[in-house]
């Protein structure tokens, strides 16, 4: 008998151990110190039960990263109360997200399958819970789809546009408690990038919490009382007010982010507490995030560089510009922080947009002549601007993708981007603009060739660059005037065609991969400053605006469409290159520099923040793809009392 016991002891012990630990795979989980008290009193379940059965295990053994210890408070600064939505961006907990190499990988989802971009099957993590402990299941997806997106009172315009392909909404199926599926007849290549976006497409909602605001599920008396208390007009208004997952201004609403807001508005100081049910652990068994609390202090945006320079922020890049670098460096030593230089990922920091839909007919013909645009581009001394504004640390380039993107080609960067006054003058002469008067050429109708560039007047960089460009263009007989105005007026002038040229930043996404949509390269939206009316035509689905009448632009529209139906990444890559080549050749927008460094203030007590990263909205989510939930504070800082 004893022998049997001995023989069976080990396997039985192993079995017991495995079954206990089986809940969270084979890692030894460690209870989070700051939550230990609440676990002891039974308010929170122990860590093994707070995590899903298969949590996301983060491997932190890279060259710049290390395993950390939980604890501590992080202070950051924001400019307005609305900016607390940035915590959802930085937190970057998404169904699927971009990794550091800009590939889409599952995050909240355990896994997903997709067939030909038409059918997406999502597998949730078993046992994954919302921040209030309730289970996160397919019901949350169903509630969103059936009771919100397709409810006529809540969504009078139907489901989100990204989910509607060629006028068709997807077929939504709940396969089981943890699996959902979306199917379209035509491919939807925008779906996954939208889910991974900095501002994500939400296809789920905490059903158990939101049902109390929905006429179909709520007790009618309670609903009426809530409507009265909140001074909303009807249940739809109430529901809309309560369902803001992105802005996090409803502190009672559960979410899946690493930190959630617990401070009701209005406030000058917002506290974000850790989410005890966050689905990630590190390989040593600590549940993420490491940092217990993030405190967001609201201060006027013009003071934030000063405050950061005196050490009042532990992690700051928002509202910090390159020209603050010297000042920040000065304060870095005494105030215990580093200033790192990350890189922006816009196609151009400053780009000129000739308005191909200008109302003035003479100007319209001139601007549509590709020789004019090429000449203007050749007549810009980009090296000088780079030296004067960026100490030579940016990159002179046309408005195109950056070297970090797999689609980059040097030819795109250099297309018509050298400083060549001779060729520029020759091109203008070829166009027939040979009438000079007082050092300035004349338009075909006799007016002086005065380019009035509209600006929104918000950036000194832009006005400085325009100053420098002004003297360059004078040498080819073109006079430049800037016309600053307010942002809305600026946009309206461009949209109406009253502005013949405007200046703004270049491509929003300068690091695309072949699987990201090339919508910026074709007319797709009204706010594309180079062809607002053509963009409007497609944005409103032919309801207003004008159809493009330039063959190259029509080709871009075709290619954009073809991309959508492309079957393979190779095909998509091919289409991208075709579109980029057209842009390089046609110079629809005139870029000046890109790759401008972005100073990032990082406290010396903060670890796992990359030395050099990409600072971009989408993809990138600013800090999102570097996952601030893996940043940790040194022991000294953790013990400091806030």
């Amino acid at each position: 008998m004893r022998l049997l016991g001995r023989v069976l002891f080990l396997p039985i012990a192993l079995l017991v151990l495995l079954s206990v630990a089986g809940r969270a795979s084979a890692i030894d989980l460690v209870e989070t110190p700051s939550l230990a008290a609440r676990v002891a009193t039974g308010e929170l379940p122990p860590v093994a039960e707070r995590l899903p059965e298969t949590p996301l295990v983060v491997d932190l053994d890279g060259p710049e990263q290390s395993l950390g210890e939980p604890g501590g408070t992080l202070k950051i600064l924001m400019g307005r109360q609305k900016d607390i939505r940035m915590m959802t961006v930085y937190g970057y907990a998404r169904l699927v997200g971009y990794d550091r190499n800009l590939n889409i990988v599952p995050d909240i989802l355990e896994s997903y399958e997709q067939q030909g971009l038409r059918r997406f099957t999502f597998h949730l993590r078993k046992g994954h819970r919302w921040s209030d402990g309730q289970p996160f299941t397919a019901e949350d997806f169903r509630y969103f789809w059936e009771d919100v997106a397709n409810n006529e009172e809540l969504s009078p315009f139907g489901p989100p546009k990204t989910m509607v392909v060629d006028g068709e909404a997807p077929r939504f199926e709940v396969l089981d408690k943890y699996t959902v599926r979306y199917t379209w007849t035509n491919p939807n290549p925008y779906f996954l990038p939208a889910l991974a976006g900095a501002r994500p497409l939400y296809i789920y909602m905490p059903a158990h919490y939101m049902k109390q605001f929905h006429v179909r599920y709520a007790d009618p008396d309670k609903l009426a009382r809530l409507i009265e208390e909140t001074h909303t007009r009807n249940w739809a208004g109430l529901h809309h007010r309560m369902d803001e997952q992105y802005r996090q201004d409803n502190v009672d609403m559960p979410n899946l982010q690493p930190w959630r807001n617990v401070t009701p508005s209005p406030a000058e100081r917002y506290v974000f507490e850790r989410n005890p049910y966050f689905h990630k652990v590190d390989s040593a068994g600590h549940q993420l995030p490491y940092i217990d609390r993030v405190i967001v202090n609201i201060a006027d945006s013009s003071l934030i560089p000063a405050k950061a320079g005196f050490g009042e922020s532990d992690l700051q890049a928002r509202y910090i510009r390159f020209d603050h670098y010297t000042f920040l460096k000065r304060g870095a030593k005494q105030n215990d922080f580093d200033v790192r230089l990350w890189h922006t990922a816009r196609g151009a920091q400053i780009a000129l947009y000739p308005n191909l839909n200008a109302a003035d007919p003479v100007w319209r013909d001139v601007l549509r002549d590709v020789r004019f645009r090429r000449a203007l581009s050749l007549a810009i001394d980009r090296e000088l601007i780079n030296q004067v504004l960026y100490f030579g640390l940016a990159r002179p380039s046309a408005n195109t993708v950056l070297p970090k993107s797999p689609l980059f080609e040097p030819a795109y960067r250099d297309a018509w981007a050298e400083f060549d006054l001779e060729t520029a003058n020759r091109l203008l002469d070829d166009m027939g603009l040979t009438d000079w008067s007082g050092g300035i050429r004349r338009l075909p109708d006799g007016r002086r060739l005065q380019v009035i560039v509209d600006t929104a007047g918000e950036s000194t960089e832009e006005s400085d660059a325009l100053e420098l460009i002004k003297s360059d263009w004078r040498r080819i007989g073109v006079e430049l005037f800037t016309k600053p105005s307010q942002r809305e007026v600026f946009r309206n002038r461009v949209f109406a065609g009253s502005a013949i040229m405007s200046v703004w930043t270049g491509l929003e996404n300068g690091v695309p991969t072949a699987d990201m949509a090339p919508i910026e390269l074709a007319p797709t939206a009204q706010d594309q400053l180079e062809w607002p009316k053509w963009g409007e035509y497609y944005q409103t689905e032919h309801a207003s605006g004008e159809a493009p009448d330039m063959p190259e632009v029509q080709r871009l529209v075709e290619l954009n469409r073809a991309w959508r139906y492309a079957d393979s990444t190779d095909e998509r890559r091919d289409i991208w290159h075709k579109m980029l080549a057209i842009h390089a050749d046609q110079v629809f927008t005139i870029g000046v520099v890109n790759g401008v460094p972005q100073p990032v203030v990082v406290s010396r007590a903060l670890r796992n923040v990359p030395e050099d990263g990409l600072y971009n909205w989408d993809p990138g989510a600013y800090f999102g793809i570097y996952h601030p939930d893996t940043f940790w504070l040194t022991a000294a800082r953790r013990e400091a009392v806030e």
Partner: protein
């Protein structure tokens, strides 16, 4: 002239009246100064009183100089307004020396260049004591268009050939601050004048009507004034700036801004005019004029106004500083003048960031002429008002 003696009563004392010829002017002989004094017009009296007020006179002369400089900004400034020196960005002020190696040479500057510290991305400027560059006076320098019309090159002082003269440093595009301040004066100083003209006229007309006619018109005007004053400045500024069409050229926008400042300022003057008129119209000379059939306009303009015109002018003078400060505040809010127009408000707005305060403090120097100007106006206006006061 003999007067009849005695008369009916022989017992009364007899008056003695001299029969000598009598010249009344011989008794009350006016000294020439006194005569001048009594015959002097109101304005002359004011001037004499003002002259005794030394500080006010000093400020007045200062103001005259400043406004005079506006006429010849191009000549006074060492550089042209838009000239850029991209090799001398954020240069601190250069010092002008007189003695080199113990020898008196005359005003000169040393060579000036910078080394870029790649760690902090800061330009560190230093003098090269081996090269001496003498300043040139009454010389030909940067090209300019005098008042935008006449091309010229004559300057009071020029930078030496092949060297730089940045007496107050340079800004982020390498533009000389001294030149910018001198050119900025043209806009800042004249904005006040034009604005004050507008508000003065408005205040006079409206206040005059209210004060003279009284009754209904008075209460309506009072209500309007109340409405104007009950507005905090901010929204009115924003609204009026929003009205200015974007298509206007910078010059027109400049006039638009002065009109805005003027429109918001007339209420104080109107109230003063009104209350003065209310009391003065009861005076006898006014009644006399009315009885003689003078029209109201004539009475107001010819009889009533001169009585307190001096007071009004003093008030107006004291309002000009408010206009100048208003222009700087508008620039700060992003509502006023913007580059490429250069005014002190625009310069101060460009200096309004932590980089300047911590690293490039010389960019805040435009605040000095602003302070000097406002102080000068205030002291001068006070002196004017004291001089205009008829009761002292």
């Amino acid at each position: 002239m003999s007067v009849a003696q005695g008369g009916a009563d022989a017992g009364q004392a007899r008056h003695y009246v001299s029969q000598e010829p009598f010249d009344p002017h011989s008794v009350e002989q006016l000294a020439p100064e006194q005569e001048r004094y009594y015959m002097a017009s109101q304005w002359q009296l004011m001037w004499w009183k003002l002259r005794r007020h030394r500080v006010a006179v000093f400020c007045g002369i200062l103001l005259l100089f400043m406004y005079g400089s506006v006429l010849v900004s191009e000549i006074l400034a060492p550089y042209q307004l838009h000239s850029r020196h991209t090799n001398y960005i954020y240069s601190p002020p250069q010092s002008v020396h007189l003695f080199h190696d113990g020898e008196f040479i005359g005003p000169f500057v040393y060579g000036w260049s910078y080394r870029l510290d790649m760690e902090t991305l800061r330009r560190n400027y230093s003098e090269d004591r081996s090269t001496v560059h003498r300043l040139r006076f009454l010389c030909l320098g940067d090209k300019y268009d005098f008042w935008g019309v006449i091309p010229g090159r004559f300057h009071l002082v020029c930078p030496p050939e092949g060297a730089t003269l940045f007496l107050l440093g340079t800004d982020r595009l390498g533009r000389d601050m001294l030149s910018r301040i001198i050119y900025g004066a043209r806009i800042s100083l004249t904005i006040g004048l034009i604005g004050i003209t507008i508000s003065f006229s408005l205040g006079l007309v409206i206040g005059g009507m209210a004060g003279y006619y009284g009754g209904r018109i008075d209460s309506v005007v009072q209500r309007v004034i109340e409405i104007f004053r009950s507005f905090p400045e901010l929204p009115l500024w924003m609204a009026l700036s929003a009205i200015l069409p974007v298509t206007w050229s910078p010059i027109l926008i400049y006039f638009g801004i002065t009109a805005i400042l003027g429109l918001l300022d007339w209420t104080g003057l109107a109230r003063a005019v009104r209350s003065k008129l209310l009391s003065l119209r009861e005076e006898d000379y006014c009644t006399a004029a009315m009885l003689m059939g003078a029209r109201p306009r004539r009475i107001i303009a010819r009889h009533l106004l001169p009585g307190f015109m001096s007071h009004l002018i003093a008030s107006a003078t004291l309002s000009i500083p408010t206009m100048i400060l208003g222009e700087t505040a508008l620039s700060f809010l992003g509502l006023g003048l913007r580059p490429p127009i250069t005014s002190w408000g625009v310069l101060l707005n460009e200096a309004q960031n932590i980089n300047v305060v911590a690293l490039y403090p010389w960019l805040m120097l435009p605040v000095v002429p602003v302070i000097v100007l406002i102080l000068a106006f205030n002291f001068f206006g006070d002196g004017l008002r004291d001089a205009a006061d008829p009761y002292r």
